[in-house]
Structures are given as C-alpha cells and as structure tokens.
C-alpha cells in the first residue's frame, strides 16, 4: 500500500524516469506482444516488396489481399481437410480485380498466387517466418531469440493432395485478439454480439458475429485434433472415465453453444423482421447466415463426437484381447523418442546419428565399369508418363426404359398441378384438363393427387422447398369415367421454412 503515496509525492513527469530493470514476468508480456507484432510483419512486408516485382504492381493493396486470403482459408477449413489452393486463388481474384479493373485477369491471378505463396513463404525450407526479438533472462542478461511462426500452412489431404490451413497465429492476427484463451474469447464475442443487437447496433454486430465465427472455427479445430487423436488409441486411454467424460464435456459444450447461438439467431431474426431500414434488414440477414454457419459447424462437431463411442468399442474388441508378453526390452518411444525431443539439438543429434548409423541396414557399394558408364551416358532419357495407362473403353449396355410414364408426361402433369397458391382446384377438373392433352395423363395426375393427400411436409422444409402440393378430401364424390373415389381439392401451399423454425421453438 505504499505505491499510491509514492505516486502522489513524485511529480508526474518523473514517474517515467529510470526504474529497476523489468523482471522476467514483465518481460514475458513484452515478449508475447513482440511475437504478436511479428505475426503482422509478413503482411506489411508484402506491400513493401511489391515494388520489387517485375511490372507495375503498386496499385494493388497487398496487405488487404493477404488478409482476405487468410479470411478465406480460415472459413474454408473443414474438419478433414483444409482449403483448396486453387479455390482460394479463384475467390481472391474478384477483390484483386476490383483494385485494378483495367489490368488483365492473368495479372490478377498472378497477384493472388504471389500473395498466397508469400503467406506460405514458399521460398524458405521451413515454409514459415522468423522474427528476432530480445528478452532479459532472470539473471538480468539480454538474449536475442528467434521466433518461428507460420501464417498459412500446407497439410496433407487424402490421396496425396495438399490443403491450406491457417495457423493459430494467423487466426489471432486476423481476429485481433492476441494471445487470448479460445473459450473465453468465444464467449466474450457472443456476449458482445448480444449487447450490440439489443441496442440495435447492427453494423458492429456483424463484425462481432464474424469474429464469433472465426472463434468457432478455431475452437472446432482444437477439438478435432483431440478427438482424432483419441479415436486412434484404445489401450492407452482410460476407458472407464476419462474418455466418456471428455465426450460428455464436449457434447455439453456443443449443446451450450447451440442454445446460445440459436438464441442469437432468434434475436437477429426479430431485428431483421422488425427493422424498417432496408440496410439494417440486409445486415441482419447476413448475420443470420453467419450464425447459421456457426451452428452448422457445431452440428458437424457433434456428429463427430457421437461417432467416437462405437469406434472406441470396435477398436477395443480388436486390440484388447492380446495376451501380454512377459519379456521386456527397449521401449523405443519411452526410452528414446521421449528423452531425445527436449534435448538441445546438438546433443539429440548424437542419439539420432547413432540410431541412423545402425538402423538403416547395409548398402552394397556400387562399382562402376567404364563399359556400363558409356551405356548409361548414351541411354536416351526416360520419358515420363504424364497421362498414365490408357483407360479401356467402358462397355455400356443401355437399360430398357420401362417407366409407365415418360419424362414429357411428368413435365406436363407437373405443369398442370403447378397451381397458384390462392386458387386450389377440384381433381375432376384437373383430370378433364389432362385428358384433353393426353389420354394417359389423367392416370399420372390422379396418382400425384393421391400422393399429395399425405405430403412430406417435414422433408420439404428440411430441403428448403418453397411450396408443396397438397390434396384434401371434403366428402364430395368424384364423377369421372375412369376413376372413382373422392373428388379431392388439390392446391399449392407456400412454405416459409424460417417462420416454421421460429414457431417450432
């Protein structure tokens, strides 16, 4: 409690004077901020280096393109794969084209690729960036350190393809919340959004919603890693408690977020419907899309979580019944890999060198004869097969068309049944109309009308259909030469998928 007194007694301009050297704790915060700052350097660097490119590229805002690229990659990251390289380039081009509309498309594409390659940093062997910063050690000496980071990294996909993912560093740079906890930042973003919406500040709300989505992606990514990892390993996992607990926790989390985001959705929808200003309406509609996307990602996460249980059991069956062996030998992982990794590379090298020298087997030395050498040098170069083996022509057999009605008949029937929503018709009238054009058509119309007596409402909603054919029996009998039964009232119902979801809640 001495500090307030001392501040009072010391004149303000002196409070910034010499202080004792900051301790490691204060320095750590500085180091963290320096590292955060370093993550933005590659973006600034793009605008600095664009002058060196062959050609006149100063019209392009490279940092802007780079940020847009990081956005695109982040939003296209799914569970299994990352974003596709070419797709990102294609989506960047409209923005680049807007910056310089008179330039050729090839140049726009070149800019997109240049930016993307620089974000990956293709030129370096690590494909990453390095920044140097200085810190004080606990004993007061000053040390310069290398900070290695990546913004966009390339990850292996299925079938040897390469996908792009944004790193945590990049997401943090993008969102601007540097060095924060994933969970708490997500909650904060959502709370902010709710407040903003309740005050009607939609412009800010959209920004916050986008931030929430980035956070959602980042959070899913963290869980994906944990979950994927867990699925692989059975014997090493505590089956009784830890795994079920973890899954329960994750499911609770998803349910919580889902509830939360649905609440937001309801609020925004209200804002959208109540707002008079068309600009507000549009903004709110965009927000609805963003939050929907968040919910979709959570649903995806949830289905992953539900798959984990059966997978564990299957693996358990497969692996757990092997009889344990009594012998013990070297535990390669526990005795070698684990101790080696934390060592300084100088020392670790001795161990890996020893393993390499004796673990690679033998090679029979090559002895060259001059005769062979001449043959080798004179041999024409091997032609590489670019296209692979020739595909055999597939032997196709046409399946006989045994449908009762032709495509044209179906189209005619559908056209006939495409009634205005406010004018339903009797089946008898429809049948008479159909008979005029085609004697077979009434059968199809009658069939469709009977089907419509029990329309698949739920499916239509899920598929986002706008309208649905229905038919109702009001007791009138059908008077028709070919058909008997009830003279159904056939009509078209308009569906409002969004409205139903609101009511359903």
């Amino acid at each position: 409690m001495t500090s307030p007194a001392s501040t009072d007694s010391v004149p303000p301009q002196l409070s910034a004077g010499p202080r004792p050297a900051p301790g490691p704790a204060a320095d750590e915060g500085l180091a963290r901020r320096l590292r955060a700052l370093a993550c933005t350097a590659p973006l600034h660097d793009l605008d600095v280096r664009k002058a060196n490119l062959a050609g006149e590229y100063s019209v392009y805002g490279m940092a802007e393109v780079a940020l847009a690229a990081i956005d695109l990659v982040t939003l296209n990251m799914d569970f299994d794969t990352g974003a596709d390289h070419d797709q990102i380039v294609a989506r960047l081009i409209p923005r680049i084209a807007a910056q310089a509309p008179r330039r050729p498309v090839a140049e726009h594409e070149r800019v997109a690729r240049w930016v993307l390659e620089n974000l990956i940093n293709v030129g370096s062997v690590d494909r990453g960036f390095r920044a140097v910063y200085g810190t004080f050690t606990p004993d007061g000496s000053y040390v310069r350190r290398d900070y290695d980071f990546k913004l966009i990294e390339e990850v292996p996909g299925y079938g040897g393809s390469v996908y792009l993912r944004t790193t945590d560093e990049a997401v943090n740079v993008l969102v601007g919340a540097l060095d924060t906890d994933v969970t708490s930042a997500q909650i904060a973003a959502e709370v902010k959004l709710e407040v903003l919406i309740s005050r009607g500040r939609l412009a800010d709300a959209q920004l916050a919603a986008e931030q929430a989505r980035y956070r959602t992606v980042q959070y899913s990514e963290t869980l994906r890693r944990t979950l994927d990892a867990t699925r692989r390993n059975v014997r090493a996992v505590d089956w009784l408690q830890a795994v079920p607990d973890m899954i329960t926790e994750a499911l609770d989390h998803v349910a919580d977020r889902y509830r939360h985001e649905n609440a937001i959705l309801t609020n925004i929808r209200k804002a959208r419907d109540e707002s008079e200003d068309p600009e507000h309406k549009r903004r709110a509609a965009e927000l609805v899309d963003i939050v929907k996307d968040c919910i979709r990602r959570h649903t995806q996460l949830q289905s992953r979580l539900l798959e984990a249980g059966p997978l564990f059991r299957a693996e358990q069956d497969r692996q757990a019944f092997a009889a344990p062996m009594a012998t013990s030998g070297i535990d390669l992982y526990g005795h070698l890999v684990v101790p080696v990794l934390p060592l300084p590379v100088e020392q670790a090298l001795r161990v890996t060198d020893a393993f390499f020298a004796r673990g690679t087997g033998l090679r029979t030395p090559v002895s060259v004869r001059v005769g062979d050498l001449v043959d080798i040098l004179l041999a024409p170069p091997m032609e590489r097969e670019h296209l692979g083996a020739q595909m055999p022509e597939p032997d196709l057999i046409a399946t006989p068309d045994d449908s009762r009605f032709s495509e044209e008949q179906l189209a005619a029937a559908m056209e006939l049944l495409d009634l205005p929503a406010d004018a339903p018709r009797r089946l008898s009238g429809l049948l008479a109309d159909a008979r005029r054009s085609d004697p077979e058509l009434p059968y199809l119309v009658a069939l469709l009308a009977v089907h419509a007596a029990s329309p698949p409402v739920g499916t239509a909603y899920r598929q986002g259909e706008e309208k649905l054919l229905f038919s109702v029996d009001d007791g009138t009998e059908l008077d028709d030469p070919e058909f008997g039964g009830a003279d159904l009232i056939v009509g078209m119902a308009l569906l409002d998928a969004a409205a139903l979801r609101l009511e359903g809640r």
Binding site: A31, H85, I120, D126, R127, G128, Y133, D146, D148, K150, E154, P156, G160, V162, R225, T226, D228, A229, T230, R232, N233, R235, A236, V237, A242, Q319, M325, S328, G329, I330, D331, L332, G334, H335, L336, V337, V338, P339, V340, L341, P342, L343, P344, V345, E346, A348, L349, R350, V351, T352, D353, F355, F356, R358, G359, T360, G361, L362, R363, P365
Partner: protein, 294 residues
C-alpha cells in the same frame, strides 16, 4: 553384437575348420553371405538360399565358416533363420555402412536437417514397435504410415510445447546459438508438406523426410509397402525387428546414457494409461496406439 564378432573371429574359425574346409565349402559360405547381402530376397522363394540356410543351422563347421566370411567383409550376423534369412548388417566403418552424407546431401551441411533425418528413422521404428513386447515378440509385424509417423512426432512436439508454455518457459532459441535449440522445435517448425510443381512430395517437408526414410528402409528389406493410404503404408519384416532390437536401439540408448540421460525404466511399457486422466492427447492419424506423454 560383440559376441557375434568374437565367435566368428577368422583365426578361431580357421583353426577349427581348417582340417575339413574345402574351397567348395568356402564358396558356399560366401554364397550364403552374398544372399544375405540381398536383403529383399526371401529364403522361401529361393531353393538354393533355403538349402544353404539349412546347412548353416545343421553344420556348425559351415556356420563358423560363413560367420568368418561375414566378419571378414565387415558384416555383423544378426540371425540366421528361415524367416529372416542370413540377416547381416554393416559393422561400423564397413564399406557396406550407410553414411548420412550419402543418404541426404543437405544433411551433411545442416545440423537441423541431419537431426530430422535421424529422428525420422527413430520415429518410424518407434511407430513400428510401439511397445517393448512388440520389439521382443518375434512374430510381431508392425505397421506404419508416412503421415502417421509425422502426426505422431508432431503430437509429441506439441505436448512439449504446451508443457513449456505452462511452465512459462521461452523456447525460442538464442539467435547466436542455434545448437541449443530444443530438438522438438526443429521438427515442429518444419512444414508437414508443401505443394510442388510436379505433384511429388516436397523433399524438405517432414512427410518428405519420413517418406524418404521408409523408402530407404524398404530398399534395405526392412519394410514392405502395403498401400497408398496416409502417404504410403508399410509393414515391418523380421530383419527390421532384429536390426532395431540388436543394433540401433542399443546404440542410441548407449549414446543417450553417455549424455547423462537415464530414461526411467521399470520394464513396463510407457503406453499404459496415463496417471493424470485428463491427458488425452494421442497421436492423430497414427494408426497405432500411442500415448504421447513425453
């Protein structure tokens, strides 16, 4: 390894078999060793090889002669059996030994690359034989995939990174002392893959380095390719198990002990459930049960 050399010393062997040995016997013994130098050749597929192996196992004098030939060539006999064949490997400084400089050109200049290549081989072995029992069990066949090895090493690195962060350590190395950088960081900061112009694996990426290692081990007759999933899947051969168990593992352990690091060992696997049950970080894509508790 040392006793093999001892009981196959040329003088001792020579003194014992000199009375009976004929040039034809010597030719047969050398022929057996020559078969052993073709690691991909399987005894079951070659009648002459199988016949020589049978003779080795039934005729002690012939066995000593073959051992002597191997020792004279700078080879160590690991096992002679129908399953592994004449399993020989290069002694240190033998003409048959593989040198890192020949293996990867960049590795001779760059200590980081050299470490990555060495660690790739160690990690492939650790993935192939995840438990001590697997290494000891002659009937065990390990399975690895390129992406699995990379994912598993990365997982271990990530655990170390998290641990360092928890303890508030700064792991960024000092600029003027790259040799003091923690080994795991070298792997962690190298990219896992990368796009190349001709759709081949980027040689400098970690999957490229692991891919090179498994391809090399396949040429050594240590692995057999079984599929293309996960960047290429492989299964181990008896020879690889012998090589890792009798040569590489112990050599690396000796080096580690010389550095003053004694891995705590009570004879049980490190793959048992972790004591802290919240520790659920397991190697993704590994395809084998790995507990990545460093």
């Amino acid at each position: 390894m040392t006793e093999h050399v001892e009981w196959s010393e040329p003088e001792a062997a020579g003194a014992l078999v000199s009375s009976a040995v004929t040039p034809a016997d010597a030719a047969d013994a050398a022929r057996l060793v020559a078969f052993g130098l073709q690691p991909k050749l399987q005894p079951a597929r070659d009648q002459e090889y199988a016949e020589l192996l049978r003779r080795y196992r039934e005729d002690p004098a012939f066995a000593r002669l073959a051992d002597a030939v191997a020792a004279g060539l700078g080879l160590v006999v690991l096992e002679v059996s129908p399953r592994a064949g004449m399993a020989v490997t290069a002694a240190e400084d033998s003409v048959f030994a593989v040198r890192m400089g020949d293996y990867a050109r960049r590795a001779s200049a760059d200590a980081g690359d050299r470490f990555l290549h060495g660690l790739a081989h160690l990690a492939v072995a650790a993935m192939a034989f995840p438990r001590p029992e697997d290494l000891a069990d002659d009937g065990y066949i390990g399975r690895v995939s390129v992406n699995g090895v990379d994912a598993f090493v990365r997982q271990a690195c990530r655990r170390l990174e998290e641990r360092a962060e928890e303890q508030g350590e700064i792991t960024d190395p000092a600029t003027d002392a790259p040799g003091l950088e923690a080994a795991w960081r070298i792997w962690a900061r190298r990219s896992a893959t990368g796009a190349t112009k001709d759709a081949r694996r980027l040689a400098g990426s970690t999957t490229g380095i692991v891919g090179k290692a498994v391809a090399f081990l396949t040429d050594s007759g240590f692995l057999q390719r079984t599929g293309d999933d996960g960047g290429g899947t492989y299964r181990t051969t008896a020879r690889y198990q012998l090589q890792v168990r009798d040569m590489a593992g112990s050599a690396a352990m000796a080096e580690l002990l010389e550095l003053g690091i004694v891995p705590v060992t009570d004879g049980t696997a490190t793959l048992l459930p972790a004591e802290d049950t919240d520790d659920l970080e397991l190697a993704a894509d590994a395809g084998l049960p790995f507990h990545s508790r460093p």
